[in-house]
Amino acid sequence: MAEQDDFMFAEIFLFIFLGVAIGIFAGLCPGIHINTTIPLLLSLSIFIQDPINIAVLIISVSVTEMFIDQVPAIFIGMPDADTALCVLPGHRLLFEGRGYEAIKLTVVGGLGALLLSLVFIAVAADVFNFLYELSRPYIHFIIIGVVVFMILSEKVPRKIAYAALIISLSGLLGILTLNSSIVRQQNVLFPVLTGLFGLSSIIISFSESSVIPEQGTNNKLKISKKEMLKAIALASFAGIMVGFLPAVGISEAAVMTQYLGGSGSSRGFLMTISGINVANDAFSLISLYLVGNPRSGASVAIQQVVGEPTFFETVFLIGIILFTSGIAAVLTLFLGKKIPKFLARINYRLLTSAILVFIISLVFLITGFYGLLILFASTSVGLLCAFLEIRRSHCMGVLLIQTILFFTGLNPLVISILNI
């Protein structure tokens, strides 16, 4: 019996470490999202007898990828939908010689929000179903409010007009790309977000900086405890909100917390985005037990193999989330320390040229000629936003406008008018 238990534990650890290895690879490869990895993991399920081991594998990959994803987003400006807004504050810190601090902030934010969100979930488990039903009819009003607030927060009339222009252009880009089939829908956000946030930042840093400054040895976080706690609390709350507000993603929630909650400095913002990612992942998995409704690609996959988990299975899976988060955090910090030092040693212009070629080639390989067209348009909008000297988060209009149209029921009308 004891031998059987030992074997079972060894098996679980094997799947955790396998998941961590896959998560590192997928996290470091730009353009690979957890939802891209899941079909591959599910196809492995024919070789894995116990469904709970598949769930362990999926969770380990998902959690590790979420932490590691921050590394390419911050250091080479290649985001996915969940890390798009990390690019700018991360780059800023990298060019201040504090690249490691940027990574450390995302790790602290992620771990802090994970622990706090578990407390939130334990305390408020009973009200999630109620809140889900209550919020659903009003979600578009909340998002419209956020968009109006985003525009007005520029304060100066000239900049307010610029913000409205960027939200309109990125919104139109979202409508055209998310409703047409010029590029496969599961890949379309890659050129869109890489252009708006990644490529445009790289082009600007290419023209402004010739080297990545030497990275400092002082690893202390330059953020007050109060701001840190605020960022973690906002992230935990927003992460759970993303879990049950339909069609609201990580980046939309980050924008909402930035404007409505005031996530403060760029350091606080980095912590918030990372925290929302992790808290949302935890809630999405637990929501299978709480509301019987999967709220992420990973939880859909787990539901397929395990069905609705029991209370004890849920507690076990939470344990896996916590354990894997610890490992992923250490690995992210390790990579965060090594990569900026490596980047600082090489010719930055050469590196950015290579990254530009790599991004363009990858977009072409994944999304074809039309993907390049989308990349051209989205990079132009991202650059325009930077040159107008307004907040880059206005480019999130690409998702916010589409979400508003969907929830107001106006999407079919708009598509009919555009005839796409």
């Binding site: 047409s180 890949n187 539901q303 348009a377 029921g409 999407n411």
Partner: protein, 137 residues
């Protein structure tokens, strides 16, 4: 320097608009490929297709959504979710509030939309009123 920055802004604005126009032209010119239900596979998720089939199941959601299952008459089936926004646009476009009543079991419909996957099942999501045609009921 200021002139240079203004020039960059104009160039980026022009490039943004040109890019959007080109995407629009591409979007309106890409036609959905006609595919029989039996040939719609998971590899086609994210692509736009057009197919026809008989309604084998219909359920109405309290929020106004209608969920259809269509079949080719053999074993192949595919889900067709009509979301509330689409349903009201479809009725408005056909100037007939009861047109969705014609979407009953046995009716032959043609549907165009993006192939998607929901809870392990394939679906076609029509996006605009023209994407759904009742061939006969």
């Amino acid at each position: 320097m200021k002139i240079k920055k203004h020039a960059l802004i104009y160039v980026c604005l022009a490039a943004s608009i040109a890019g959007l126009v080109l995407i629009y032209i591409a979007a309106i010119n890409i036609q959905a490929a006609p595919v029989p239900i039996a040939e719609i596979t998971f590899d086609m998720v994210g692509r736009s297709v057009k197919t026809a089939g008989f309604i084998s199941y219909r359920s109405n959601h309290p929020s106004g959504h209608i969920f259809l299952t269509i079949t080719d008459g053999d074993d192949s089936i595919i889900q067709v979710p009509l979301f509330a926004g689409f349903v009201s646009s479809f009725e408005r476009d056909n100037r007939q509030q009861a047109i969705t009543d014609e979407l009953r079991r046995g009716a032959l419909i043609e549907v165009e939309g993006l192939v998607g996957e929901y809870r392990g099942q394939l679906q076609i999501v029509p996006r605009k009123p023209d994407d759904l045609k009742i061939l006969y009921d």
